[in-house]
């Protein structure tokens, strides 16, 4: 069951059925799964690329902070990850 708040030691990784791929034709990152393809925003793709099971949510926020100084990442990133986990695409 997905928690509604991200816990500190969660190291998000894509679910087994999901493939994250850059689509050069559409210029977008996609999540591919059986019977479905989900087009990600540029930032969404960036966040999910860091979800490789080795980084905690805190690590991901810190890493993105270097690329987007001043962005409200502390709230936005955990919220986004919770949403993606609720869809069943992250474990």
């Amino acid at each position: 069951m997905p928690a509604d708040r991200t816990d500190g030691d969660w190291r998000p990784a894509l679910a087994r059925s999901i493939v994250l791929r850059h689509d050069t034709v559409r210029g977008a990152d996609l999540l591919l799964m059986p019977e479905r393809a989900v087009r990600l925003s540029e930032t969404g793709g960036r966040v999910l690329r860091l979800c490789d099971g080795s980084r905690t949510v805190g690590d991901i926020v810190a890493e993105l902070g270097e690329a987007f100084p001043g962005a409200p990442l502390d709230d936005d990133v955990p919220e986004f990850l919770d949403r993606v986990r609720a869809e069943g695409w992250l474990r």
Partner: protein
């Protein structure tokens, strides 16, 4: 410019150990000696990926009958395409599946005909249920995303709850309840397959009452009974390309039956030309071709006038409004058949058979 396609249905072969009376393959099955070879399929997948296709159903017939299926899956995977094997389960050993997974296979869709062995075998036209059960075990053990597909009709709808229980027991992640769609073989068997309305009503209640635990359930609309056509998947030539065993390219697998379509072949043309330029893929693209009530209808961008293949099969004119639509002047063709289904006894099946060897 035409938007890029998303998906490829690759019918590797029309050969199949089963004989389902609603098979989606054409009445005229492609013979084995006319099939594309490994290198031709590899080229198709490379071209497909280059055009924006990101997903492929590796299907048939029974795709496991191709000795080179591992190489074909590998070619699709190397091109960057997400692959799903669509199989009857016959011939799916754990060794075979391991090889396919190593080649890059992403997921499996297994078909089953009913929840009980005797009736599943009767519908399939041969003993197959136990083999499917074993295949399900192999897929579940491999931990692969696992979809179970069940075509629903008069002879299995009353066991829907058992079917859902079976899917959960077999470890499926998703159960696709595909109410039979009547073209090709299924149209030939329509009297035997059409359910009575009460059967469908009870089935809908079971689906509605499902508590959301266990496998995800997908209910494919039974268009004969709703007065609403099922939307053609994103519209004709909008999302997907079907390539048949001999390289025939079609906007959808049911379109084999349209004799005037003159479908292009991947042996003669690039997939990019086929998608963007060929007359067959442009024939019913968009809304400009529409006739009758579709032209002014607010739903025309939602259901795209319903199914072209059904319009052709029932009226002889693929540009007419789908007779499944309550607004169609031909709606009686569907309504009368659906009403009669409650009273007629249902006849035996005309099983799908391979073409005679000439």
């Amino acid at each position: 410019m035409t938007d890029a396609p998303w998906a490829l249905l690759a019918e590797l072969t029309h050969a199949c150990p089963l004989h389902c009376p609603y098979c989606s393959n054409p009445l005229e099955l492609v013979r084995r000696d006319a099939e594309l070879d490994t290198a031709e399929w590899a080229r198709v997948f490379a071209e497909a990926a280059g055009m924006g296709i990101v997903q492929a159903h590796i299907s048939g017939g029974e795709p496991l009958l191709r000795r080179d299926i591992v190489q074909i899956v590998e070619a699709a995977h190397d091109a960057g395409v997400y692959t799903q094997l669509v199989t009857s389960g016959l011939g799916l050993t754990s060794r075979r599946l391991d090889d396919l997974v190593r080649a890059g296979l992403n997921s499996v869709q297994l078909s089953v005909q009913d929840a009980r062995a005797e009736s599943s075998d009767l519908i399939a036209g041969r003993t197959s249920f136990r083999a499917k059960e074993r295949a399900a075990g192999v897929i579940a053990a491999a931990g692969l995303p696992f979809g179970l597909n069940v075509v629903l009709h008069r002879h299995n709808l009353d066991r829907l709850q058992e079917i859902l229980d079976l899917g959960a027991r077999w470890g499926a992640d998703r159960i696709e309840l595909a109410n039979a769609q009547f073209y090709g073989w299924a149209l030939r068997n329509r009297t035997a397959l059409l359910p009575a309305r009460e059967q469908l009503d009870r089935a809908k209640e079971i689906v509605a009452a499902h508590d959301g635990s266990g496998p995800e359930i997908v209910w494919v609309l039974p268009d004969y009974y709703e007065g609403v056509p099922k939307p053609c998947m994103g519209g004709w030539g909008a999302r997907s390309i079907t390539v048949g065993p001999d390289g025939t390219a079609l906007p959808c697998p049911a379109a084999y039956a349209m004799p005037d379509l003159a479908p292009p072949n991947v042996r003669d043309h690039s997939l990019a030309w086929i998608w963007a330029e060929s007359p067959a893929f442009n024939a019913y693209r968009g809304t400009g071709w529409m006739t009758g009530p579709c032209r002014e209808c607010p739903r025309r961008e939602t259901d795209f006038g319903g199914c072209r293949c059904q319009a052709f099969a029932l009226t002889g004119d693929a540009a007419r409004t789908d007779p499944a639509c309550g607004l169609s002047p031909d709606h009686h063709l569907v309504r009368d058949a659906a009403e009669a289904a409650g009273s007629v006894a249902g006849s035996g099946f005309a099983y799908r058979r391979p073409p005679p060897v000439r």
